[in-house]
């Protein structure tokens, strides 16, 4: 009898300790104005991307209304189709892009795509990296060695080149570009998870679990991976920003499926030849990318401070 209630007590106090820890973490995060700012921005962008099509009508934004869009008084009209670009003003808050479409509308329509792609890439890289890294760290031996050598190869790559070659070969679709970025991104997670699992593996609780006859698969899945997941999650948050940057860079370098696609890098690349005559084409989409990336990075940076007790000062 006593044994069972002891165990229950232990479990309860453990849960309480975890809740206290979580509360303390949240408290620390609230204390940090930068993390708070980042969280507000992220929530804002996520709400914006969920409601983008409600705020801005895609049909209306994609249609080129010639009578409205062309800025005939614009002196830069003489140099081709880009003459459709209006500077910021009363009709269009941020001006129009090279096709005479409202730039602000296009940017709002682009945000869901960018954020979704970034989350998909990071989630896929994390899932793949964690599974491979955990198995490599847990099994060890030749398999571990092989996985390490393969990640070595990917680490030695100039990342963008691999993505560029892949994108150039398999055509300019969003799917290809997603895989191209993923190809560059997964090795970090393998290494990170492997390192964590190697540390956890040697701890006494694993030994204890083994001693009471828990199956190795169960130890790995139920105990070791959850215990080593936090640094990986921090890395994922920090990577969302990086992935958005890389993806939009690929678009910017000319791998966009269509110039009309609302994607921030793609919108910015419209402005390449017209930096000095129509700077808003590049300024605003780029600024939006910067804001999205920095909001995720602020959270990730704060999370790292909170989850790493050594930095809690």
């Amino acid at each position: 009898m006593g044994d069972r209630s002891d165990r229950k007590d232990a479990r309860q106090s453990e849960t309480q300790a975890r809740i206290a820890e979580l509360k303390y973490g949240l408290y620390l995060m609230r204390q940090n104005p930068l993390v708070l700012g980042g969280s507000i921005l992220v929530v804002f962008f996520i709400i914006l991307s969920a409601t983008a099509t409600l705020i801005v009508s895609p049909e209306k934004t994609y249609t080129f209304d010639f009578s409205q869009s062309y800025c005939w008084s614009n002196p830069i009209i003489s140099w081709g189709p880009q003459g459709a670009a209006c500077p910021a003003g009363t009709n269009y808050i941020l001006g129009t892009d090279g096709f005479g479409r409202d730039l602000l509308g296009m940017m709002i329509l682009a945000i869901p795509l960018d954020i979704t792609i970034a989350i998909v890439i990071v989630a896929a890289a994390t899932a793949f990296g964690v599974s491979l890294g955990a198995i490599a760290g847990w099994v060890g031996g030749k398999f571990d060695e092989a996985v390490l050598r393969i990640t070595d190869i990917f680490f030695a790559f100039p990342g963008l080149v691999l993505a560029l070659v892949f994108a150039a070969l398999f055509g300019r679709t969003i799917d290809t570009l997603t895989i191209a970025v993923l190809l560059v991104w997964w090795p970090t997670y393998v290494r990170l998870t492997r390192g964590q699992v190697l540390v956890e593996k040697e701890k006494t609780y694993v030994e204890a679990l083994r001693a009471i006859g828990v199956s190795p698969v169960r130890i790995l899945l139920v105990h070791v991976i959850p215990n080593s997941i936090y640094p990986i999650l921090v890395n994922s948050t920090l990577d969302i920003g990086g992935v958005i940057l890389t993806f939009s860079a690929l678009m910017f370098l000319g791998f966009s499926p269509s110039p009309a696609l609302p994607e921030l890098g793609n919108l910015a690349s419209d402005g390449i030849g017209h930096v000095f005559t129509a700077p808003w084409l590049i300024i605003f989409p780029g600024l939006t990318i910067l804001l999205i990336a920095i909001s995720f990075n602020l959270i990730g940076d704060g999370l790292r401070d909170v989850l790493d007790p050594r930095l809690r000062r």
Partner: protein, 332 residues
């Protein structure tokens, strides 16, 4: 290390030659003036009619004989020659960027650690985070817009928007290293060096801005770590001034991880220069490799990725050695 290079070459080779693309794999070896029979001979000579793994073997043999193939888009010059003439420009840009990263990142990190959790720390953190959240291409264009166009419009001394040297000065000093700044110095032509320096500022800064945040964060973390150690408390209790404690005692140890990382930054910047070079029309290997991607030039891509991979692997090695050398507690 050999294994890594082998792996990189296999992946690039299979990607670049193994899939149908707009360019036939032998396109880089032929010219318009060749007869069909000559083309057939070339296909045979490099094994393009054989399966991929045998093609790879042929390529490997060529490489060990110092033959890296040709790059058609560069007037059919040997790929190695194209690479060798462009590489110094990239190295110059990368070194300039690395210097900027260290010159800004290290003081920023120290400041952040000393003024831990104050407004100065937060400001430094924002700069660092902005650095690695900025789209490089966007930042590069903004720099161009402000320092070239607007400065020009306002009648201020403006920085050039691209290139390595002013048109009129090009070719006035003999090429020794291929890096304009060094070449100017060697020839004793200070005007040339000055002009080259003037040209390198914007690209180097746009390249450096992304990485200096990482360095600042690392310096901050290691400085905080060191400042809590017993020997610092000892130094303080001896009555040494705060200045001496920080700069003579703490900084030296705190900079070890930062210094060793500089090698990695250098390698990373080398690979990351593609976008910056493209925006600033810098004639280095990065901008050229983008052209090679669009032209289906597998020869150049193979050489480029192998050299970059080699540099990355070597700098990793150097970092490990340096680490052990600077911190005698670490033994391998």
């Amino acid at each position: 290390m050999i294994f890594v290079l082998f792996g990189v070459s296999v992946i690039v080779f299979y990607l670049a030659r193994g899939f149908p693309s707009a360019f036939s794999p032998w396109a880089q070896y032929i010219t318009f003036r060749m007869k069909p029979s000559q083309i057939d001979a070339i296909i045979k000579q490099h094994g393009f009619d054989k399966p991929l793994y045998i093609q790879y073997w042929y390529w490997l043999q060529d490489v060990f004989h110092g033959d890296w193939g040709f790059s058609n888009w560069a007037n059919g010059l040997p790929t190695f020659e194209v690479f060798a003439s462009r590489f110094p420009y990239t190295v110059e840009l990368t070194i300039a960027a690395t210097i900027l990263v260290m010159a800004i990142g290290i003081p920023l990190g120290i400041l952040s650690a000393l003024k831990n959790n104050t407004a100065a720390d937060h400001a430094a953190r924002i700069i660092a985070l902005t650095g690695y959240s900025t789209p490089v291409y966007w930042f590069a264009y903004i720099l161009q817009l402000v320092f070239f166009y607007y400065f020009y419009m306002w009648g201020l001394p403006n920085l050039p928007s691209g290139g390595v040297i002013t048109q009129g000065l090009a070719g006035t000093v003999p090429t020794v290293t291929g890096m304009p700044i060094l070449d100017g110095l060697i020839a004793g032509n200070l005007r040339y060096t000055g002009d080259a320096l003037w040209h390198v500022i914007l690209p180097a800064f746009s390249l450096a801005f992304i990485s200096l945040g990482y360095l600042a964060r690392i310096v901050r973390a290691s400085m905080l770590e060191v400042l809590r150690q017993d020997y610092i408390i000892m130094a303080r209790s001896k009555g040494l001034s705060e200045r001496t404690v920080v700069y003579r005692h703490a900084l030296r140890n705190a900079l070890i991880p930062a210094l060793t990382l500089t090698g990695l930054f250098f390698a990373g910047l080398l690979g990351g220069a593609i976008i910056t070079e493209t925006v600033f029309s810098w004639p280095g290997v990065g901008s050229v490799s983008l052209r090679a991607v669009f032209q289906g030039d597998s020869n150049f891509l193979l050489l480029f990725s192998l050299v970059t991979a080699f540099i990355i692997v070597v700098s990793n090695l150097v970092v490990d050695v340096m680490y052990a050398f600077l911190d005698p507690r670490i033994k391998y």
